[in-house]
Symmetry: C2
DNA sequence: GTTAGCACTCGAAAGGGAGGAGTGCTAACA
DNA sequence: TGTTAGCACTCCTCCCTTTCGAGTGCTAAC
């Protein structure tokens, strides 16, 4: 079967109309709304071809057509154009954001909120894994007789704190002195590199009563061990309740519950690396490995810190989602935060020459 | 109309059955399941009386009865018994919790999660308002040339941190010295007490170059000023999707969106003080001032720190919610965390003598 | 290659009983 | 006087049928 420019136009029209209405699209609708110089009969013939090619499908005999996963795949790979400029609202919010925060984790939260507000789809951000980021600074602070607070500052200015129990009462100055020693020994290392041998070494080098140091270091290494690795932040999850594909409560619930399963989300986004090129990974419907997401599409961007990929930002929507809007929003973000995403290299698969959809 | 023991039993039976089935309860059901020594006709007569008293109502002529708000009010005030012991699962979780954390905010989060797991209803916790809690300790930490991290530890071991910009480069020792001064001046005060005159005073007393101190203190007071006051933590919100009263998507969505409106939640729980006695505030259906909650009931406990009420923990459910389970769970928590809730004084309204519902 | 016309399909919506759960009322009974 | 059996009545729910219409595929003409 030959692919023609006209077929692509029709496919695009179907995708566009189905995005708006969530109803199967008939030949007459296309003839009237998109390609007025062709009769519905002609379009019917073309649609028949498109169906044979597997790009669209018919829910039942006497219904219109809806795009298939393969059809969407073709669309996002070849047909979809980028919105040239992010809209005003986004720019305003973005500027606010840039001036506001320098802590990576809160920045990511705000970006997630922003994306969700912009696109009206839920967003999911996997937070940097604290265990794998390098320690910038460490500080013990007195709390009361039985405990101190350990504050850890890592790459990206992420701050974590933990209350650690003290076996022996310690003076403030002692805590500060130990902090200094630990800083010298540990800064620059990732939390996962702080293993037992290293701790032993510090124990020897540090001129404090051994048993005090012992218990303190144990507490610290405990803390490091249990540092929650891989949090997930979700924003705008309730948006899915406005899509007719989730008017079935069971389906809506299953997806909502997915958003709460942090380990599953982490596993999902980590299984596949992002492709070269646009820097975005798009998973359409059944391309998702997780069954709960077979009715969804996900657009994912990886973010990095110091050239190492450390997490992902995803937009989740129904399969008919507005890929163009989502991709544009994400690419806009990527341009605005080059430190986080690197400059995207742009689409590596050329759009078709003259495909104008309206 | 006289209230009788038997009428109360019937009311209780209706409430119990409606809790299970979410369907109107007929006279025959009660006769078979709850009061087998009475015929359905007798129960019909009593039900007719109960309806006249406004305690139950009929959705339509040929349907059974459902409890009215007034009926539930009578139930929670007079009929409801407490489950004597929290179940095993809860005890296990609770013990885990007690040994785990000493930071008030994470403790509250865990309690919220626990309550939601136990009851299968969503829980909403309003977090302590950091602005109003007393400062325990304060510490400036170096970050890079242009910024430092201000770590604040308040009552309840709540730790907050903020990156603050530095106009002039500062040595680590300087930061520590300033921390010391600030600590001496500020600890014990609530963040809202740290006003401009106080800051001016510190500026004079502190022997650092004035313009450095100036910018630093400005940054700090800025930080204090903008300290987000009143966060809200929600757990188990998706549970509402399992209740038939929210099978209507629009209704479910409206409630889900309510959970995201932090200011509205804060406003709601702060408008009414808790009553003396059990220490729990129960709002049934239209007793809620917020329209989105007219289909819901909320059970709220206040928690305190150093005898000052600083926040609330609420369980939200459909009007037919299992008040007994929820109240027992909350009261169990209150017994287990006397520091947080004070010992509850127990029900101040006596239960009826012999009302056994099964 | 395009289009008008037409028969055909099939889901969605509307109409119409049948069934049944539940009520209120009455009259009889202990 | 309280309790209960019996009965007529109501009205919701379920299911079946019919109707309607949107959309298709095919054919023949342009």
């Amino acid at each position: 079967m030959e692919m023609s420019e006209r077929k692509l136009q029709i496919l695009q029209a179907i995708i566009l109309n189905y995005l708006e209405t969530a109803e199967p699209v008939g030949s007459r609708t296309i003839s009237r709304r998109f390609l007025m110089d062709l009769s519905s009969a002609t379009i019917r013939n073309e649609m028949s071809d498109l169906e044979e090619m597997g790009l669209i499908e018919q829910p039942h005999t006497s219904a219109g057509r809806i795009p298939s996963s393969k059809g969407y795949r073709l669309y996002v790979d070849q047909l979809m154009k980028r919105d040239t400029v992010d809209d005003q609202q986004m720019n305003i919010l973005m500027n606010l954001l840039k001036n506001k925060t320098v802590q990576l984790d809160s920045l990511l939260r705000e970006i997630g909120d922003l994306l969700s507000t912009m696109t009206k789809y839920p967003t999911v951000v996997t937070m940097p894994q604290i265990k794998q980021s390098a320690l910038k600074h460490l500080q013990l602070m007195p709390l009361d007789e039985h405990s101190a607070i350990l504050v850890l500052v890592t790459d990206g200015n992420i701050v974590r704190n933990h209350v650690i129990p003290l076996q022996h009462e310690m003076k403030e100055t002692d805590l500060y002195r130990i902090s200094d020693v630990l800083n010298k020994e540990l800064s620059g290392l990732s939390l996962s590199q702080m293993d037992l041998p290293l701790i032993q070494k510090i124990k020897r080098d540090c001129h404090v009563e051994p048993e005090i140091m012992e218990s303190l270091l144990n507490a610290i290494s405990d803390t490091l061990e249990h540092a929650k690795d891989g949090d997930v932040f979700t924003s705008g999850a309730t948006n899915i309740l406005s899509f007719p594909e989730f008017s079935d409560i069971a389906r809506a619930r299953s997806l909502m519950e997915f958003f709460n399963q942090k380990d599953q989300i982490l596993h999902m986004v980590s299984t596949e690396e992002r492709p070269v090129g646009t820097g975005l990974k798009i998973r359409i419907g059944t391309e998702n490995t997780i069954e709960q997401l077979h009715d969804c599409s996900i657009v994912t961007a990886n973010y990095r810190y110091k050239d190492r990929t450390i997490g992902t930002i995803s937009v989740v929507g129904p399969i008919r989602m507005d890929y163009q809007k989502v991709v544009s929003a994400l690419e806009g973000l990527m341009l605005d935060f080059p430190d986080l995403f690197g400059k995207p290299t742009g689409p590596d698969i050329g759009s078709l020459p003259d495909s104008k959809a309206n």
